[in-house]
Structure formats: structure tokens, C-alpha cells
Symmetry: C2
Subunit: 186 residues, 2 copies
DNA sequence: AACATTTTTTGATGTATATCAAAATCAACT
DNA sequence: AGTTGATTTTGATATACATCAAAAAATGTT
């Protein structure tokens, strides 16, 4: 089954008509390691699911890349900003491994919301779950030391550490790679 | 007009039946400065609006209070966590001025979502807007220095500074009051 | 107005993390 | 297996911010 539909069904009921409509608008494609999904400011991003693969979201600050999150299999993600404002995201999304992707564009999603208002319950649940995740992330950045943030990451997304290099992890944690190296040495 | 309804209408259409149902479930009350709205873990929080007043949300860390956000007039807020999970928030909410409040409980809100599914569009929009705000907050904590975070606060919520003491502001920014004082001195 | 309480500022010193430079290790390719 | 480039670690030093203590200023109360 289309993994977007599979993810949607975790949040609420989907009529078979809505399911068919989503099916017809789902894009399926493959990307190579280092490819970009979205160039910031170019394309409206959308919700998507990795059947297989790994991605990072990042933006530029003083010419340097800053990672904001990582995505693995069996998650639904995308930028909320374009869904909410209909404007492009400032985030770039890059594949860190060869990946198989199912995606739905913002335009299609908004049309689906119009045609099948029942989808708004699922959209609400997804946005609410993202709020909870972002709240935890803010608190972690607000009060935890570098080493505590690293421990939190190990606890919450342990598999990431074996798939992503330490430079990317350090950037996500908001510290330098040197500091992360020293933290790991204990 | 009931300011909860007023806020809801900023996000989408509300049928007159739904409006009446919300009206009937809205609680209206007054609170004194220093009162608490919710004690964490006790009561399920809800969406609410300040007709007049000022609040802070905070939690405890190592016995000390840490502020997570402030709320003023003409905003809708509450913790998403209880709405999403139906479990109490870890946050405490305290009034920083004598306040007039309109509120709707999580139980009532969830019943309204069931009775008037159209409300899910509004709920989705609200959650999506909160996502955008939380994303900005995370980025601020991720990459900005103490002084930059202070400047961002001045830019985004200038009126807060004249209504809230510097201890509360410093806690919100994730720095000590002494550091904030030195930042302000330039 | 005088006193008590709260809030803000100042000073001295300590600590976590950044920066810069280089070495060591690992991975990829021929 | 040897060479090249990427990743990770190590060392020396700098900086932003914390901590502790106290003074100064502002605010509230009788």
C-alpha cells in the first residue's frame, strides 16, 4: 500500500474515495545520495514518506549549513510552513542515502483538504504531533547542556548515529564537531 | 462576541450551529495577578483567550522555574500536548497581571470536533500556526547568541518588555538575569 | 516620608564551549 | 596494497556566559 496513505491512517479514518484520490496524486521516485529534494525558495515542499532512505533538513547561517532535523523510514514529514502559508520553505532537504520516496505536493494536499474535509482531522493530528515534537526540541535547546542534548538524541533516535557522520550530528545539536568528539570520549 | 469564537473565525468558516455550541461551552472568569490557571499534572488544559491580562507558561528544572512562553491579549493559546494526547501538560500557567479569561476545556473541544467536523480545519490551521512559531523559537535557541535572542524578542514581542520583569525574560531567553542586565547595558 | 521588599546592576571569578591548527583514523578508488 | 580525500580526534588558547556575593535602584506598604 502507498505509504502516505498508510501513515495517514495512523491518525484517523480515511474513506475509500479519499484514499483513491490520494493514491492518484501520490508521486513515487528514487533519489541518489547527496541529491536534493527541494532547493529552498524554489519549490513548494510537501508531505512525504521514505520507503527507504535517510534525509536531513538544513538552512544556511553565515554561509554555513545548520541541520534542523533528520528523517528515516516510517515517518511522515515535510515543512509545515508551506502548508500553512503556501509559501516556500527556507529549508533545504538533502538525501543522505540512496532513497525511495512517496510524496504529495502542497497544491494537491490543499485540494484534497477541500474535496475531502474529513482529511482535516488527520491534518490536525499530524500538525499537533509535530507541535509536541517541536516543543520537546525547543526545551532541549533551551535548558540542556551539549552533552545532555547528545544523550537525548541517543535515547530518541539511536539509529541515526550509525547512519550519519558526526559533523552533521554536531550541527543538529548546535555545537562544533570538536566539542561533540570530546563529549563522546567521556 | 465571545473572543474564542472571534479567534476561531480568523482561521476558517464557522457555521452558526457550531458557533452556538462553542458559545455554550465557553467559560468566562477573572483571575488575580500571581494566580495559577493550571497546576501541572492536575487539570487538562485547554484553548483560551485573554480579554485582558498577561500570562506566562513555565516548568521546573532542578527546582528552578523556566519560562517557555508569554501570552497577551488577542491571541489564542493553550498546550497542544493535552489536546493531542489527552494527558495533562507538564507546564504551569500563571497570570502576571489581573486578567479576564475565556476558556474551553479539552473535553469540550474534543466533543465539538466530533459534533462539528468542520472545526478540524480550524484546529489544523491553529496547530500549523503553532508549528511555525515553535520552529522559529527552536531556530532562535539553536543558532542565536544570548544578545541576538534578546534582540529577536524585542522585535517580535516588544510590548512584553514593559510588562514583565527581567528575571522572567532572562529565564525565557535561557540566560541568567545578570547576563541579561549586562546585554542591555550594551 | 520611612521602611521593607523586590528588582536590577555591578564586580570577581569559574566553566562550558568555540576557534584554529594539526595529527590520526577511516573509507573509497585504482 | 597504496594513494587520495573525508572524517574524527587531539591540543592550545579564546570567549560567552554562569555563579556567587553584594550594592544600588525601584516599588509597595504603613
Amino acid at each position: 500500500m502507498n505509504p502516505i496513505i498508510q501513515q495517514f491512517k495512523r491518525y484517523g479514518f480515511l474513506s475509500s474515495e479519499a484514499e483513491t484520490a490520494i493514491e492518484g496524486r501520490t508521486k513515487h521516485f528514487f533519489k541518489k545520495k547527496h541529491d536534493h529534494f527541494l532547493k529552498s525558495g524554489q519549490v513548494l515542499s510537501s508531505y512525504f514518506v521514505l520507503e527507504k532512505g535517510l534525509i536531513r533538513a538544513y538552512f544556511y547561517r553565515d554561509g554555513k549549513e545548520v541541520n534542523t532535523w533528520f528523517g528515516e523510514e516510517n515517518q511522515i514529514f515535510g515543512s509545515i510552513l508551506p502548508v500553512y502559508t503556501n509559501r516556500p520553505s527556507f529549508e533545504n532537504i538533502q538525501f543522505l542515502e540512496d532513497s525511495e520516496v512517496y510524496a504529495i505536493s502542497v497544491e494537491d494536499l490543499n485540494e484534497l483538504y477541500r474535496m475531502y474535509p474529513e482529511l482535516n482531522l488527520i491534518g490536525r493530528k499530524i500538525a499537533e504531533e509535530v507541535c509536541v515534537i517541536l516543543e520537546e526540541r525547543s526545551i532541549s535547546l533551551h535548558i540542556e547542556s551539549a552533552s545532555e542534548r547528545y544523550q537525548s538524541l541517543i535515547r530518541l533516535q539511536p539509529r541515526l548515529l550509525s547512519r550519519i557522520n558526526l559533523g552533521h550530528i554536531a550541527s543538529y545539536l548546535g555545537i562544533t564537531q570538536e566539542t561533540l568528539s570530546r563529549i563522546r570520549r567521556y
